[in-house]
Amino acid sequence: MNLFYTATDHFVLSPAIQLAFWGCAILLLDTWLIPDPRKRRWLVPIFVLPAIVLTAIALGKQHAYLVSEGAREISAFNGALTVDGFALFFNWVFLISTLIVSIVSYRYLEIEGEHHGEYYGLILLANCGMFFLATGTDLVTLFVGLELMALCFYVMVGFLRGERRSNEAALKYLILGAFSSALLVYGFSLFYGMAGATKLSVIVKAMQGRDPWDPVLFLAMATTSVGLLFKISAAPFHMWAPDAYEGAPTTTTAYLSVASKAASIAFLLRIFLGPLDVARPAWEPLLAGVAILTMTVGNFAAITQTNVKRLLAYSSISHAGYMLLGLIAGNDTGLKGIAVYVLVYTFMNLGAFLVVIALRRQNIIGEDVADLAGLAKRHPGYALLMLVFLLSLAGIPPTAGFLGKYYIFLSLVETGHYVLAVIGTLYVAVAIYYYFRIVRSMYLDEAAADTAPLASTVGLRFAVGVSGLLTLCIGIYPEPFLRLAHTSLLK
């Protein structure tokens, strides 16, 4: 037992320190250090840049250390934090999302008339919470990370103070989120009761040899699952997602749908492959049911949506179902598949939301499927990229999304879950229908009278372009990305 703050501790914690420091610094700058509101406007967002660069350097050092030493993991704080391939992989994903979302937020919030520096502070602090979700190996650390992330999101979802949709979304998200957190923490308390410790490694040892159908374990599993499934918006705990996605500022929606989901998936994997691994016979059928239900709800509800943000919300629900399938398969392919899926999902989903952001202009909301009509004529570049994102979301080769789905299906077939594989593939056909409603609107429908130029900034163009390029690249030449995903395997 080490009671002091060691160099290793600092090394492992350094990305979080950077994120927290700059996050707090931005809050201070915004409220106190820069008194002139006009200067504040453009000065505050600039500070996101050093935050991201320094965090990336810290992560890069950890990455380099793992590679050069050939070590599997670096453990710190007596096992409360563990940096391994898994943690690094997810942390990179979070950081990329943070970068892209920060780049595009400035103009968007200006248009919404709610440009405040604290938004950037919240983004960085949320990312800090995610860091603990991916790196934490202690129930308390994980829970604190989860709450840090969630609290930031509650504020960000309700950021459009003047808009009722946004307020309503935030309140719904907050109440349901608090409820699910309570259930989660109740489950954690049961683990503590069974193992007498909060460290995952100790709990795993204590659980060994326990009957999978042990009632206490089952109760712990059930309550923890509810909390986790809520966070990844799996049915039947998905109710908050469409409202929160639609009401939130679109930049927040993009961040919520990508980074928050990735963090929650990382958290879910840590728990299900750690303390709950012994209970696999109990949770496997349960999760299979949840996955099928999630895909069903997500895909069928998306068909009738007319609001693009809501449609993408339901589609993101169905994607959560696919990711769960990888966990159900549970072999290396499946877990690698989840990593690949998270990676490609980040780019394609962010990309799709970025196009929606570009459509939001002064006095034009631009969230309806009909608002995209004729986009191919007016802005062929954006339309083409949106097409790539939608094809990828639908899982059509040669885009990245196909590869993610392919991995999941392969793992299901390898482990003999044929029925799930068939259901999963059949839902691809359903998904194509609603994604192509957007394509149809962009390419086939006559242009709407909307002639206002898009709210396209250099940053936005750059972000969309990079997302589109990566979505295609991962699909056409995925080898380096697959290797990266391989390092994220959690044994």
């Binding site: 059949l426 691809v428 192509f436 149809r440 086939l444 290797r483």
Partner: protein, 508 residues
């Protein structure tokens, strides 16, 4: 990477090149697209002579996926047909497509890229990727440049083919799981050596998953309902590519993948499939007869003609296979030509209803002559191409089950009825004033587009020897593969050894 490997990427390069051109310069785009597609056609002729015709490279080693492409007697002619019809499609769209010109030509080249890949892919994963790549451009070709109900038709086309092919993906993954490789020749070798065997249930399910994906594309009765909509609504070039090339993807897939991989299931199911094919032949012909819309008539005739191809394949003998493949090419040439000519009519009269025509032969004698030759080719007049294919198919069917041949032969008679009746109502009789005004004869561009196809009709009808040896050699191999693991032996007339050796040498 050998010649073939590079060649298959040329349409993609052309597609990207076209994207770089400014969209206002429509003339430049048309000329560039035509020149590029002609160059691709020229290169494809090199496949007839070029050696070696195989490329096998690692693509995604992590997943064991290879860029393995090869060309044999089965695919070579289909590839040439595709590369020939792409420049022709551009030519016939010169005036017809007057908006979003850049996108149109880009999509056409992307379609060519996907289709060529399907015909050459020897890796199941690669095959699936190409298969899907071809779908998206066709959706746009119908949906953007089509007629009034284009969006409905495009969505229907897309959903039908997509829904059918997702189960094929699941089956491909299953085959990979069992075989440990996506490499098609390797899988066949494992099947032949008995290293890989499928139980009867596995075979049936996998066969059905593959078969349904292909049958929708063919389309086999009763999965054909998307076809008339898609054809009628598509622009002329879209109809031509759809009929001539895209439908062949289905029949090619059945012959290339379904039969050799799952021979037992294929033979067990041959009975009802052949019956469906015959129903399709007769049904397609009968429905075609009552169509008031000339494009729809040709579309239903496609259902009928493709029935012959399926029937030939499921006869499981050399003549049937040869006839089926030959009929694929014939249909590509003659139905493609028919759609072009219907497009010519439409560009002049702006109507597809037969009743709006009549006496066209007076103001446009050359158009009528060319149309008549194509019509006769389509109904299988000896010395023109379809006769050879239909004859071989019927011969093959008769060997398998004489009743099949009897019923299928009625399709030949019916095709003469509906085609000639349509011709008579359109081109003979009194000439309404409007027709006289609007019907001008073929111009130079139109001649240039149709002449290669007319030449092919005669060539394929009189000198089948140019094409058949390579086809037979490939089919002989497939027939052999479908005979392995089959409990009963099929009677095939033994090929004369000297001829066979020469054919195989030719094919190489």
């Amino acid at each position: 990477m050998s010649f073939l490997g590079w060649f298959l990427l040329t349409p993609l390069a052309a597609f990207l090149l076209l994207l770089l051109l400014p969209r206002e310069q429509e003339k430049t785009i048309r000329v560039a697209a035509l020149a590029l597609s002609l160059a691709i056609f020229g290169l494809s002729l090199g496949l007839l002579a070029g050696e070696p015709r195989e490329t096998d490279l690692a693509w995604i080693p992590e997943l064991n996926i290879r860029y393995h492409v090869a060309v044999d007697g089965l695919s070579i002619w289909l590839i040439l047909l595709t590369t020939l019809l792409t420049p022709i499609s551009i030519l016939i769209s010169w005036k017809y497509i007057d908006r979003r010109v850049k996108e149109f030509h880009a999509f056409l080249l992307l379609l060519e890229f996907g289709v060529l890949g399907v015909f050459a892919a020897m890796d199941l994963f690669l095959f699936y990727v190409y298969w899907e790549v071809g779908l998206v451009p066709m959706y746009f070709l119908i949906g953007i440049w089509g007629h009034d109900r284009r969006i409905y038709a495009a969505v229907k086309f897309f959903l039908y083919t997509m829904a059918a092919s997702v189960l094929m993906l699941a089956s491909i993954i299953y085959v990979y799981q069992r075989a440990g490789t996506f490499d098609y020749p390797a899988i066949l070798a494992m099947l032949a050596s008995g290293k890989l065997t499928f139980t009867s249930l596995e075979q049936t399910l996998l066969f059905l998953a593959f078969f349904v994906a292909f049958a929708v594309k063919v389309p086999l009765f009763p999965l054909h309902t998307w076809l008339p909509d898609a054809h009628v609504e598509a622009p002329t070039a879209g109809s031509v590519m759809l009929a001539s090339v895209l439908l062949k993807l289905g029949t090619y897939g059945i012959l290339r993948f379904c039969l050799p991989m799952f021979p037992t299931a294929a033979r067990e199911n041959a009975g009802w499939i052949a019956v469906l094919a015959i129903v399709g032949i007769v049904y397609g012909a009968l429905v075609a007869m009552v169509q008031p819309n000339v494009k729809k008539l040709v579309a239903y005739s496609s259902v009928s003609h493709l029935g012959f191809v399926i029937l030939g394949i499921f006869s499981f003998n050399q003549q049937g296979f040869d006839g089926a493949v030959y009929q694929m090419l014939n249909h590509g040439v003659s139905t493609g030509a028919l759609f072009m000519l219907v497009g010519y009519l439409y560009e002049r009269r702006h109507s597809l209803e037969i009743q709006d025509y009549g006496g066209v032969s007076t103001p446009a004698p050359w158009l009528s002559t060319v149309f008549l030759i194509t019509t006769l080719a389509s109904i299988g007049l000896p010395t023109l191409n379809n006769f050879v294919g239909e004859f071989l198919v019927l011969q093959g069917a008769a060997q398998a089950d004489f009743r099949w041949a009897v019923f299928a032969a009625t399709g030949v008679i019916l095709s003469a009825c509906y085609m000639l009746w349509m011709y008579q109502r359109t081109f003979y009789g009194e000439t309404p004033e409007k027709v006289t005004h609007q019907m001008t004869d073929l111009n130079g561009r139109e001649w240039a587009a149709i002449l290669p196809l007319l030449a092919l009709m005669v060539w394929m009808g009189t000198a089948a020897e140019t094409f058949l040896p390579r086809i037979s050699a490939a089919n002989r191999l497939i027939l052999q593969q479908t005979t392995v693991n089959v409990p009963f032996n099929v009677q095939t007339p033994a090929p004369r050894p000297d001829v066979a050796a020469k054919e195989i040498a030719d094919a190489r």
